[in-house]
C-alpha cells in the first residue's frame, strides 16, 4: 500500500495538471497572458464546497457546479478584457484575481477570513485520475480541432486571424470559459481533498505558480503542462531533504531551466527565432518574473 504522503503528492500533482493545462489553453494556445488563474480555482473551490455543505449536493454535482460557476466568471472576465492585449490583459486578470480574493474575504457565506472547514473528504485518487483524463482529453480534442487552429491563429497574429474570418471575440471568450471551467473543477477537487479553504491561499502567487508550471513545461503543449505541473509540485517536496536551502534550490532550478530551454521542456517552435508573437509573449513573461 502506498504511503499517505506519496498519495497526497500524487493527488496534488493531478490537481495541478488540471490547473496548468487549463491555463495553457488560455495563455499557451490562445496567447492571452492571464495571471489570475488562481481566482478561477478559488471560485470553483468555494462554489463546490458550498454546494456540498449548504445544498447537500453529491460530490460529482458539486464538482460540476464548481466548474460551471468558474466558467461563468471566466466568460465574465473574458468579455470586458477582450480589447486588452499583453500587459494590459495581464494586469486586468491580476486585478480580477484580487477582487475575487477580497470578495471571499468579506462574504459571510464563505466564512470570511476564517474560511470554510469541515468539507467532506470526497476527493480520492480515482476521482483525480478520471478528472485529469477527462481534462486532457477535452483539451486535446479542442486543440486538434478547427477551434484549436483558430485559437493558435489568434495567438500567432490576431489581425491576420480576424481577416481570415475567425471570430476572435468568440474564440477568446471560449478559451477563457473552458480554461476557467477546468480550473474550477480542479478547485473543487482541491477543497474536497484538504477539507479546508481560506481566501488568502488563492492569491497572486498561486497564479504565478500555475503560470510557472505552464512556461516550464512549454507554452502551447498540453504534455508540457503535465510535466511542468508534476515537476513543480514534486520538486519542492523532494527538496525537503535540503531543509533551509530548499527555496534557494527551487529558484536555482527554475532559473537554470529557463536558461537552458527558454521554450520550456516540451515547448515547440512558438519561441523559435523570428516568431514575433512568441518573442513578444516570452519577453512579457520574463518581465513579469523579473519583477
Amino acid at each position: 500500500m502506498i504511503s499517505a504522503y506519496y498519495l497526497q503528492i500524487i493527488i496534488l500533482v493531478g490537481i495541478n495538471i488540471i490547473m496548468a493545462s487549463s491555463l495553457n489553453l488560455i495563455t499557451g494556445f490562445t496567447g492571452q497572458l492571464s495571471i489570475g488563474h488562481a481566482a478561477f480555482v478559488s471560485v470553483g473551490a468555494y462554489a463546490s464546497a458550498l454546494a456540498t455543505l449548504k445544498l447537500g449536493f453529491p460530490f460529482f454535482a458539486s464538482l460540476l457546479c464548481g466548474g460551471l460557476v468558474a466558467a461563468f466568471f471566466g466568460i465574465l472576465i473574458g468579455i470586458p478584457t477582450l480589447k486588452l492585449k499583453g500587459d494590459y490583459l495581464a494586469i486586468a486578470t491580476l486585478g480580477f484575481g484580487e477582487i475575487v480574493r477580497i470578495v471571499f474575504l468579506n462574504l459571510e457565506i464563505t466564512g470570511g477570513a476564517v474560511g470554510l472547514r469541515g468539507i467532506p473528504k470526497d476527493t480520492t485518487l480515482t476521482w483525480v485520475i478520471i478528472s485529469v483524463i477527462v481534462t486532457l482529453f477535452v483539451l486535446y480534442r479542442i486543440i486538434r480541432s478547427r477551434v484549436g487552429r483558430a485559437l493558435i491563429a489568434i495567438r500567432e497574429d490576431e489581425t491576420a486571424a480576424e481577416s481570415m474570418g475567425i471570430n476572435t471575440t468568440y474564440y477568446k471568450i471560449l478559451a477563457f470559459g473552458v480554461g476557467a471551467f477546468f480550473a474550477g473543477l480542479g478547485g473543487g477537487l482541491f477543497s474536497h481533498y484538504f477539507r479546508y479553504i481560506q481566501p488568502n491561499s488563492f492569491g497572486f502567487l498561486k497564479s504565478i505558480e500555475y503560470l510557472c508550471m505552464v512556461v516550464l513545461g512549454g507554452l502551447g503543449n498540453i504534455w508540457g503542462s503535465v510535466i511542468g505541473a508534476a515537476a513543480l509540485t514534486a520538486i519542492p517536496e523532494l527538496l525537503r531533504a535540503s531543509a533551509d536551502y530548499r527555496q534557494l534550490f527551487y529558484g536555482a532550478i527554475l532559473v537554470i531551466m529557463m536558461r537552458i530551454r527558454p521554450e520550456g521542456i516540451m515547448g515547440e517552435g512558438i519561441f523559435r527565432k523570428g516568431n514575433s508573437a512568441g518573442d513578444y509573449l516570452l519577453s512579457k513573461i520574463k518581465i513579469k518574473f523579473n519583477k
Binding site: 499517505a4 504522503y5 484538504f194 481560506q198 491561499s201 531543509a243 530548499r246 527555496q247 537554470i256
Partner: protein, 392 residues
C-alpha cells in the same frame, strides 16, 4: 558552442550544489537536536530509544519570523532535555518542516512527518490555517500535535489529537475588554481590526464583551500592509471614544498610533498579542506610549525559568525571544513531560498532553482542557518609557 558550455557549467553547478546539500540535508532534520553529543558521551552504551519530534511552520516566506521563532523555541527545549538526559533512555530528535506559510504545503509537511519520518509527536502548525489543514491529517495518522500559536476559534474541537498552547483570540479579547471597563474605567470604545481570521476573531469577542459592559461606538476595518488609516481614524474621532482597540499586528498598530496622534486623537490604545514586538516601539515611538495589550509571554519577567530561557535564546540565536518562541518552548516542554509520565508511543504522548495540569511554563501555569484547548492566565502589558511592563 559557447551556449553549450554555459549550459554544461550550469548543470554541473546545480548537481554539485545538490550533492553538497544532500550531505548537509541528511543530517539537517536531525539538526542540533540529534547531535550525538550527550548520548554517546554518556558512559553507558548508547542504547537509547529515539523519539522524533516534528515541527511544521513557515520557515520561509512572509511569515518566516514566526516559524523560525517556533523552531528555535522547540530546539532549545529538545537540546535541554537531551543534555540533561531528562528522559531515561530517550534521545529526542527534531524534524523541522517548512510550510512557506501556505496551508496546502503545510498539509504536505504534516503528511510527510506522519507517514515518512514516522514522528511520535508534532509541534505545529504555526499559523491557524496550517493547523486547520493539518488537523484531519494528523487525526487519521493518530499523531498527537500541539500548536504553539494557532489561535483560531474552535480549532481543537472534535479532534482528540490536536492541542494548542496559546490563548484563543476570544479569551484574550474578552478579558482585555473586561479589564478595560472594570480596572481602567473606560466606557466608550472604538474598534479597528485587520480583516483576516485573527483580526475578525478579536473584534467579535471584544465587541461582544465591551458592548455588554459598556459601549462600542464604531467598528472599522483595515487590511494588512495598509499605510494610511486616516479615513478610519477621522470617522472614529467624530464619535469621541475614550479608547481604541486595535485588533491587528504591531506594524499597523504602530502606524495607527502615530496617525492618531497626528490627528490629535488622544485616546487609550488597547491591543492583543499582535502588539508584542520591539518593532511596535521602534516604529510607534512615543505615540504608543501607554498602550495596553494582552500577551502570552513577557521576556522581562524575573522568574529564573524565564530568564534562563531568554539567556539561552540570546546565546544560541543572537536575538530576543518573542511570544512564538516562548509558547513553542512550553509546548515542547509539555510534550517532554508527557513522554516522561506516560511513555514514548504516540498514543501515550497524546494521553500525557491531554492530562496536562498546572504545568509551570514560562508563559504561565498551563492546563489543557477536555477539548484540547489551553487554560492559562492572560498577561496584560503596558508600554512604559519605551519598554514593556507587566501590569497584570
Amino acid at each position: 558552442m559557447n551556449k553549450k558550455i554555459i549550459s554544461l557549467l550550469s548543470i554541473l553547478f546545480l548537481l554539485s550544489v545538490l550533492v553538497a546539500s544532500g550531505c548537509g540535508g541528511n543530517d539537517q532534520p536531525s539538526g542540533p537536536a540529534s547531535d550525538p553529543g550527550p548520548a554517546s558521551e554518556g558512559e553507558e552504551a548508547p542504547e537509547s530509544t529515539v523519539v522524533k519530534i516534528g515541527m511544521v511552520g513557515p520557515l520561509s516566506g512572509g511569515a518566516a519570523t514566526y516559524g523560525q521563532s517556533v523552531r528555535n523555541g522547540v530546539e532549545i527545549a529538545v537540546n535541554e532535555a537531551n543534555e540533561n538526559n531528562e528522559i531515561e533512555g530517550v534521545v529526542l530528535e527534531l524534524f523541522a518542516e517548512d510550510s512557506e506559510g501556505d496551508w496546502s504545503k503545510a498539509a504536505n509537511a504534516f503528511s510527510k512527518l506522519a507517514e515518512q519520518d514516522k514522528v511520535n509527536v508534532i509541534v505545529g502548525g504555526v499559523l491557524s490555517s496550517e493547523s486547520e489543514a493539518g488537523g484531519p491529517i494528523i487525526m487519521s495518522a493518530q499523531i498527537p500535535t500541539i500548536s504553539p500559536s494557532s489561535t483560531a476559534t474552535g480549532l481543537t474541537l472534535g479532534n482528540p489529537y490536536l492541542f494548542r498552547n496559546c490563548l484563543s483570540d476570544e479569551v484574550q479579547a474578552s478579558q482585555l475588554a473586561e479589564y478595560a471597563v472594570t480596572e481602567l474605567g473606560l466606557s466608550k470604545f472604538a474598534i479597528l481590526y485587520t480583516n483576516n481570521d485573527y483580526g475578525v476573531a478579536l473584534k467579535n469577542a471584544f465587541e461582544e464583551t465591551a458592548g455588554s459592559l459598556a459601549e462600542v461606538l464604531a467598528v472599522e476595518a483595515f487590511m494588512d500592509n495598509d499605510e494610511n488609516f486616516k479615513p478610519q481614524l477621522t470617522s472614529i474621532q467624530q464619535l469621541n471614544p475614550e479608547a481604541i482597540f486595535i485588533a491587528g499586528y504591531y506594524t499597523e498598530a504602530a502606524k495607527i498610533a502615530q496617525q492618531a496622534k497626528e490627528q490629535g486623537l488622544d485616546v487609550q490604545l488597547l491591543g492583543a498579542d499582535g502588539f508584542y514586538s520591539p518593532v511596535l516601539i521602534e516604529i510607534g515611538a512615543d505615540a504608543v506610549e501607554g498602550a495596553i495589550f494582552t500577551a502570552g509571554f513577557h521576556s522581562g519577567d524575573e522568574s529564573p525559568a524565564v530568564q534562563n530561557f531568554v539567556n539561552n535564546y540570546r546565546e544560541l540565536f543572537n536575538e530576543e525571544p518573542d511570544m512564538f518562541a516562548a509558547q513553542a518552548y512550553d509546548a515542547a516542554r509539555i510534550v517532554i513531560e508527557a513522554i516522561k509520565s506516560k511513555g514514548t508511543a504516540p498514543e501515550q504522548i497524546r494521553e500525557g498532553i491531554a492530562e496536562t495540569e498546572n504545568f509551570p511554563g514560562i508563559t504561565g501555569n498551563t492546563s489543557i482542557d477536555e477539548e484540547g484547548d489551553t487554560i492559562k492566565d492572560v498577561l496584560i502589558l503596558k508600554v512604559e518609557n519605551g519598554a514593556f511592563d507587566r501590569i497584570r
